[in-house]
Structure formats: C-alpha cells, structure tokens
Symmetry: C2
Amino acid sequence: MDNKVIANLKTLGVDMINKAGSGHPGIVLSSAPILYTVYANHMHINIKDNNWLNRDRFVMSAGHGSALLYATLYMCGFLTLDDLKEFRQVKSKTPGHPEYKITPGVEVSTGPLGQGLATAVGMAIGKKHLASTIFNNDIIDYYIYTLCGDGDLMEGISYEAASLAGTLKLNNLIVLYDSNKISLDGETSHTFTEDILERFDALGWFVMSVKNKPFEIDRAINKAKKSGLPSLIEVKTLLGEGSILENTNKVHGKPLSMEDIKQLKEKLNMPLEEFYVDEKALHYFKEKIKNRSSNKYIAWQKKYQSYINNILNGNDIRITDFYNQDFSFLEEEVPFDVPLEEATRDSNHKVMNYISGKKECFIGGSADLASSTKTYLDDEGDFNASNYQGKNIWYGVREHAMGAISNGLALTNYLPFCSTFLTFADYLKPAIRMSALMELPVTYIFTHDSINVGEDGPTHQPIEQLAMLRSIPNFMVYRPADFNEVLGSWQAILKNKKPCALILSRGKTYNSHETKSQEVIKGAYIIKSEKKKIDGILIATGTELGLVLNIALELEKEGYDLRVVSMPSTQLFIKQDKEYQNSILPVGYKKIIVEASNDYHLRKFVSHDKYLININSFGVSAPSYDVLRALNFDKDSIKSKIKELL
Amino acid sequence: MDNKVIANLKTLGVDMINKAGSGHPGIVLSSAPILYTVYANHMHINIKDNNWLNRDRFVMSAGHGSALLYATLYMCGFLTLDDLKEFRQVKSKTPGHPEYKITPGVEVSTGPLGQGLATAVGMAIGKKHLASTIFNNDIIDYYIYTLCGDGDLMEGISYEAASLAGTLKLNNLIVLYDSNKISLDGETSHTFTEDILERFDALGWFVMSVKNKPFEIDRAINKAKKSGLPSLIEVKTLLGEGSILENTNKVHGKPLSMEDIKQLKEKLNMPLEEFYVDEKALHYFKEKIKNRSSNKYIAWQKKYQSYINNILNGNDIRITDFYNQDFSFLEEEVPFDVPLEEATRDSNHKVMNYISGKKECFIGGSADLASSTKTYLDDEGDFNASNYQGKNIWYGVREHAMGAISNGLALTNYLPFCSTFLTFADYLKPAIRMSALMELPVTYIFTHDSINVGEDGPTHQPIEQLAMLRSIPNFMVYRPADFNEVLGSWQAILKNKKPCALILSRGKTYNSHETKSQEVIKGAYIIKSEKKKIDGILIATGTELGLVLNIALELEKEGYDLRVVSMPSTQLFIKQDKEYQNSILPVGYKKIIVEASNDYHLRKFVSHDKYLININSFGVSAPSYDVLRALNFDKDSIKSKIKELL
C-alpha cells in the first residue's frame, strides 16, 4: 500500500502541474517516496489542531516541490481536491511556491534556494530554547524535517546555516537530500562535484546515503534520531522518475506532455483519470498518520495541562507571559540612566537588555559583531550546545544565515533580533525579503550607519543601504536620533510586531531633552518650534538630528526663524493622516531634509531635489571628520548649503 | 634574516595602526610569516612593471590585514615609508582596507569578508582561460595567492566559490588560511567547530596544515603547486602573537597600547623607534624577490615577444584584439533576424552571441538559469576542468560567488557577464557593490523582470530590486524595451565599460520600428511624437513600453494628443544636458511614468507622486494576466489611471 500512496502523490502532483500549465514535475516524481515516509512514518501532526505547539515541522526547502507538498497535505487532510485543482491560481491555497499563512500545513514560505534549510535551522534553535527554558524536553520534543535539493546545498546560506547547526549540535533537525545529480541547467557534474556527505560530516553532522525506498529512508531517519547530531540523509533519486524525460533537466520545470502523463500513469498502475484518488490508499495514509499522532497528541495534552497547572499553582506565569504579546511595559516610566551623550548603539544596548529581562521570547545575536553593535544581552548567557537556555546566539560571520535563522525563530513564536553593520545589510537582503513576505517580527539591528564610521573606508560605509531597506514592501525602517528615540523605536517595534530595521550610530549623539519616545510611532514630530514665523523647516533622520539642531540654533542667532523636525521613520510618517502630516510639515514653507544616505524617498518631504541634502557617492578611508569634509557632509558644508537654500 | 624581515613587518604594521589611531594589529602579528613567505619565496613581481601580465597575484581576502599588506608592499618597494605613515588618511595610498587602483600592488578591493577569496577564484578562472586561448601555459603561468581568516571561511560566498573551484580543478589558486581560532567577538569554539580541512578535502582541494614558520609554509606551498588542485594551507597562528593581548579577541581591532608596543618590540629584538626600518632586512627581502622575479621577468619578455611576433607574422591579431577596448563594431549595421515580437531575453541572446563571436574577452555564465535567462553562448563551449577554452561558465546555484567571480574575471581584463532572475539580484548585492566600488566592467543580466512572471509567485516576482540596483553609486541600470533597445544597451555598455545591470523580460514584447538603438545611450528619447499639441507625456521603461504605446494609440483615438517617451536608462538620461532633457520632457506638460517596480527614483521625471504608476506591494502566484490584474497593473487599469490623470 506504501507504493500506492506514493503513486497517488505522483499522479496528483503531475495532474496539478498539468492543469495549472506550469510547475515542477521532476521533484514530484523523484521525492514522493521521501515525503511519503516522513509524513506516514514520522510526522506527528493533528489536522484539527494545526497550530499544536509540539507538532513536527516539515519545511519544503526545495520550494519548487510545492505540488508534491500540496498533494501530501491533501492526503493528510489539510487540503481539498479542489484546492489541488486551483494550483497556482489567484487566492488559492496552493500557490506556485509554498507560502506561510496561505496553506494549512505549510510552515515557511520557500522558493529562493537555501532559505528553507537555513530557516529550519532557526526553527531547530527555537525548539531547543523552548524545551530548555519555559518548557522541557518532554513537552517539547518535536523534529524539524526538511527536503533539500542540490540547488539548496550549493547556496552559501545553506552552508552557513549547516556549519552553525553542527556547532550547536541541533539533533532535532533532519535534512532529507533529494540527490539526483541534475539541476535546472543540466547535470551537476558541471557544477557540483564535491563529496557532500564528507562535507556535512566535516560540519559535525550525522550523514547517511540511502536508496529511494520508504524502508531505507525510514531506517535512516530512525538512525538520525539516535545520532545526537543534526542529520543529512542523502536519498539517491532519479529526477522525474518514470517520465519519458527522467534523469534529464528537461523534466525539472514544465508540465509533462499528455503522452508522458499517460505512460507514467500506466507504469504506476494508476487510472488515467485526472486527479484520481485511490480511496484505499488515502485511508491507509491518513490512518497511519492518525494512529501514530493521536496517541501522542492525547498524551501530550495531559502532560501539557499538568505542567501548566503545576506551574500556575506555583505562581509561575512564564508561559502566559511568553505568549502574551503585550509589550506595554516599555511605555511605562522606565529607569534608564541617560548620559548627556552616547552612541545610539549604546542606548539600544540598555533598552534591549531591559526588554530581554521582561520577556523570554526576546532572543538573538550578531554576525560576529556583538562587541561593535552592542547587542549582547548581558545577563542571559550564550546559546550553545551545552546551554540551550542562553539567549545570545553567536552566529559567526554568517550574516545571511543569521537572517534566515531569525525567520525560523519568529516562526517558533520568538521575537528575534540580529545585528551587523549597516553596510553588511547587503549580505542579508534575501532573508530580509523573506521576513517581509511572511511579515515575521524580526528586528534587524544595523549599526555604523554612515560614512561617519571613518577609517574603515568605503567597504564599511553604507550609502545606498537605507534606500534598499526602505524599498522593501511590508518592512519598516527606524532611525532614531538618541536615547529617547531608541526607546520610542522599540515601543513602536513591539507594538507593530512586523519585520523592521533599527539603524544606529557608531559615534556619540547628543541626548536631547526635546526628543520624545512616544512620538516615534508617528514617524516624525517637531522637536524645535519656530519662534514667530517659519523661515524654513529643517528635517533630519536619526544620527544627523543633533547636527541639524545645532545648525538651526546657530542660524537662529543669525536671524533665521526655523522649525526642526525629527523623522525617525519616514514610512510611519507617510502612514499618518493628512492633518497630522500638515501640522508637522505645513504646505507653503521651505523644507530641507538632511540624511547621510542617498535614499531618494526623502524627496517625498521636500519640493525640489535641491532641498535634499544627502550623499551620492561612495565614501573614503580617513578619520571621521575628514571623511565628512571630503564628501561635503561636515557641519560647515551642511550649514552653508542650508543658508543658501533658505 | 627571515625572522628579522618578519619582525620588521610586524613593527611597521603596529606602528602604522598606532599612528592612525585605528586598525587591526591582531592579523599583522599572526600573519607576518605568511606574507613574508609568499612574497619572499614565491611571488614573481616587478615593481617597475606593476601591470606585468604574468605577475603572480596576491589577494588580501582578510582585508582588515591591510597594514600588514602595506608593510609588505613597502618592503617590496611599491610604497614609501611616508605612505605607511599616512595609513587611513584622506587621499593616501594606504586606506583602511585595501582598495584597487589606489595602491600599487593591491589587486582587489577587500574588506567585506569572503569577497576576496571568491574574487580570487574568478582571477584563477580568468588565468586558466587566458592560458588556454590567446596565450598558452608557458606564457601565462602565474599563481593567485590569498590570505583568509576564519571570518572569510565562515561566509557562504567563500564556500560557494571554493566548491566551484574544486569542480573546476583550479590548481593555480593557493589559499593561506590564518587559523587562529579567534574572531572579532571571541573564540571560534562558539561558532565554527567544523573540520575545515576535511571540508575542503570534500570540495576536491589539496589541504595541509602547518606551523607558522616560513620553512613549513614554504614547503606546503611547494606541495600545493604540485598537487594539481586548488589548495588550502592552514597555518596555525596565534592572533596578535607577541602582544600582551595575544590569543584574545581584544587584539583584533584596535591599536596596541604604548606599553604593549614597547614590550613587543623588545621581544622581537627591534628598536623602539617608530617606523624603524632594518636596512639589512629590507635589502635582503628586496633581493630575494628581485633575484627570483627578474630572471623570470626577462625570460618571459623574450618568450612573449617571440609569441607576439610569431602570431603577428601569422597575421593573428587575437592578442591586440583582446586588449583593444574598441567595441564600435556593434554600432555598425549588424545582420540580426528581428521577429515581430520576442522576449528581450531572447533578443539579448542574439546580441550577446554576436558580441562573443567578435570578442575573446566576452565571457560569463549563469547561476543555473542559463536555460531561462538565455545567456548561453552557443558556439563557445563550456568552461570546465577538461576544457579551459570554453566561454560558458556553469556557476551552479551560487549567485553570490558568481558576482565576485565576475569581478575576478574583470580584474583579469575580461568583460564578464553573469545572469539570474531579477528577484535573485538580492543574493548578489554585496558582490555588485564591489563591482561598483572598483568600477569593474561587469554586466549583470537579470531576466524575469516583474510580477509578469506569474505563477511562480511573490518569491520570484521582483518589486524592489530596481530601486536597489539604481541606488548603487557608480552602477548603471539598463531596461530595454525591445530588440533595438537591447542592442542599444549593449552599445552603451561596451562604450561605457562600467558595472551595470541589464534588465530583461521573460515574456514577449513587440519589436517596435520606432525604438532606436543609438538613442539608448542618452537614456530616454521620444518614440511617438504628439500630433499638434501635448495633452500629456507618457514615459515607460523597458518591458512596459509596448503596453504604454498601445494605450497611447488607443487614447489618441479617443482624442488625446500624447507623446510617448522610452526611458531605457533613467540614470543616463539624468546625465544628459538640460537642453536635451527639456527637449524630451519639456516643462509645463503633464508627465506620467509607468514601471512595474516600486522605484521611487522615477519620481524625478514627474511633478507629483500620483503621476507615478507603479507597484508597491509584493505580487501573488497566478497566471501572468491575473497577477497584473490583482495588482492593478493590467492594461485596463493602467489605461483608466492614465485617463483619470490626463
């Protein structure tokens, strides 16, 4: 009966692709035995409680295998046959690549190769932390299974994540590797001749190679579970097995011909009928999952209730606190020591540590720059193979995996942060995009926010990164000016619970008494009013605010009557109603905006390009002040530009 | 005397950092023996002929080791002592991280970790191709040496490049790995416990581990040269050796204390004098390099001249052609078959193949998407370990390394291209930035340029990528509308020889007779004039031009008198003189711009946000037309928006 289910998964997948007129049959035919084995023999799931805390997770890292995944989810009971017929149509539950929140049973959006595996590593970290802190290994004992292809394993991000998974000994992660020696353009002999098992062995993984048979795959998974290590199981498959085009790249990415489908179904001993379902096979598969899962589910509910009760009796509110998404505590009076001036990365250090002390779900780390980004959580310990309770994750110099792992943590109900220099935001862009697509509450902390970093030179001086970040849909950028605005940014971040970036300074900024944390959520507000009339409105974002405020005060002495507006979030300001926007930036007055970036979005707030004082070339290596002068972004240059414009 | 030179490299490096008040002494002290050995015993260079075609190349992938590199280059004779004293100052030859074109002897800009090693792989590919095509292995027999740290090797891009280097058996690449088990934040036991040698062995590299002694390093390099494989030599070093802070992360990134410098110099048996140079050591080092290099240099000149003469006698102008940067052939009448409609990726295929047939230096490949991006060079063969003459590089699913390798090819005087889908431009961003910083003539070809790709869904539908690319300084974006503009884009690309992106469609576009290749270099031009008066000017970039032209013709029947402007390069148009700009987009008329992206730069060409017809959210998975309709970007929606605005 195993083979009947597998055959049915194949025919359903192939029919879906055929009806949609697009899709990837190759992986459907090569990997059906793998998905079958994982779901039939290993996954503990409950279709009636899809968000069961202790469910096993499956991540289709080879996202183009969506048809196979949906066929499997149909046979599990998550989807209907009509859902399968709507494959790749507007508003269906079965989009071209798996999408989080769209399809029950889909845990992660995938498609861009490598992201799925790295996100799965994040989910494995989240599981370890959860089981070691507010729960225990009895209540939280789920596995994360992932299906990867050659493409996933060629991507640098998957190596980064796998190396870290080995270091962290994440034995709850089982990667099934669909090894068929063919990628989109042709045979991997052109591109990928390395010994993959040896590589993963070097990374500290359990590795094993098996034939594409349920029995062998099953045995390998059982061994993997006993290995105490993250596991890579190579399943030697045949791309598009059974198709006329099997074992060629032609079977990868477009529907099979009618003739091919016909001979395939005959070969599989299946009727030619489209979307045929073998009811016996369906029943058999569902029962296998149910029999195994329901016992565990029922037992688990008891354990969980007893754990909750015992904890509540003992007055421990950790669990409710973890899942309570109320962060208003940050809006109350909080006892921070605020010096006259400090770098916003230092202000941020205090606020983050305060949040962390209040919230278990606040977790994160840096790509080997915590000493510089100052995002270390002082009293929380390090997350490592001998201490899964720590909240500081040492990502190593692996920015890209750090982003995807943060996504995995968010998918485990954490509120993760991660940090590096703003210029290296480039390395994370694909993972940030996935945060934005899934709307996951990941906070990307980028310090060293301008040419102001000085001597390290243009490779370390961000210019275009703010434009890049602000252009990502569903993504918010905060650039606070000082301590108050850092606090306000976090208030907004915790209230919005959306993907965002927090942009911080390396050097000291003046802690103004005029900035207001509670105004940050409006995006912009007045921090210095005009005296009588308005000769001009100076707008600054973040680190440049102090400078602009200084210039305004000097110009006031020279007779100019100026308003100064702080704009920690251009995007939040745009979202305010017109009335508020007009009260801050009334029409009919000259407005000038200053930011050490080349983000042209700022043009929205002024009436002509010339009122945009920014930087449009790469920086240079020199002491900070010399760099600013070389790029005409020192105080004198900006002041005289403003005077010219007024 | 070896040790004296090494001691002097260390003291010079430490003094430079001390004088600058910033820098990275840890690597200076750990890696001086490595640089000494490479330069004293292996590098064939001629300081009087720094661009010697057959010079050995050294790439400081660990770019923060700049002080050590500059100290070495000083002792080679490339720099003066004054240059060292100007470390990290404006306009000095010794910036904070190595910068290409600034410092003689610096082959590549480095700093962002992993880029250097991946670029070195590109240089190694370029060398192989050069030696196998217009030259031979006798004339071109140089090596590429690279110094990497743990940080480089943790980055995904270095894995991607190393895996490909193994597949391609690049035996001209020798990586020296400064293995000190410490990175910026602390010991690598937190982050990087993998068996690195085993990993590189799995990748098909020669690997060896040695002590930090010139004799051992030297012997390992000699073995590496005989291995026939790319080589990784692990040198077991002590970070900041000799400093009070040795073997801790505190010695990584800031100047040593005066006390520390004093004890260090005493330990090294060097005088305390700042920037002290031991003349005997200097002489010894220079002589070692000169004795070895000058014989080879002189013999090489003879070989080269004889090769040139023989070839010129045989009327073979390949060499002059290779180095002749004149590409005007593309501006002449060229015999292309231009159908009524085709996808611009297909138009591009023809133009690229035409260029390739004319130019040896035109080389490139795709990240496993050549079948879709259509960038395969049909008659040029594949570049692989058994055929280094091929011009098609199979990068595998390794976008990031592909970018950096293209940089390495450009540094070897090639005009490289590479390709993937526009949405995956994100994966390459850090490498594109390096192209832009070095102003290397790399052409990034990004197809599948909008939500129009349809069923693959939002992960495959670019929205914000044009904004990201157009915001990079020194970087040009071309988005041609049809065959003529593809041709014109390449004319501009080959004339400008700067880093750029070529953005192409997946679906068919109409090959208009009104588009003009020679106008592309002006950025924008009129393709449909108004009849009498101007009711409005419709501007479109690239793939949307046909649609907008259609709408304009329909509106004309409804009584509107419209001008249509094609804008294949917003950036080139901005560079034109005001007179030309006004002739195309005269002031006083309503202008509307249409592009399937969210790039706010387009706002430059219209008078109000509302005249910008674009897309500000992620796409959806559905057939192309349904996607366009779901995002109000179908023809009817755009037409009615335009009518409202007119």
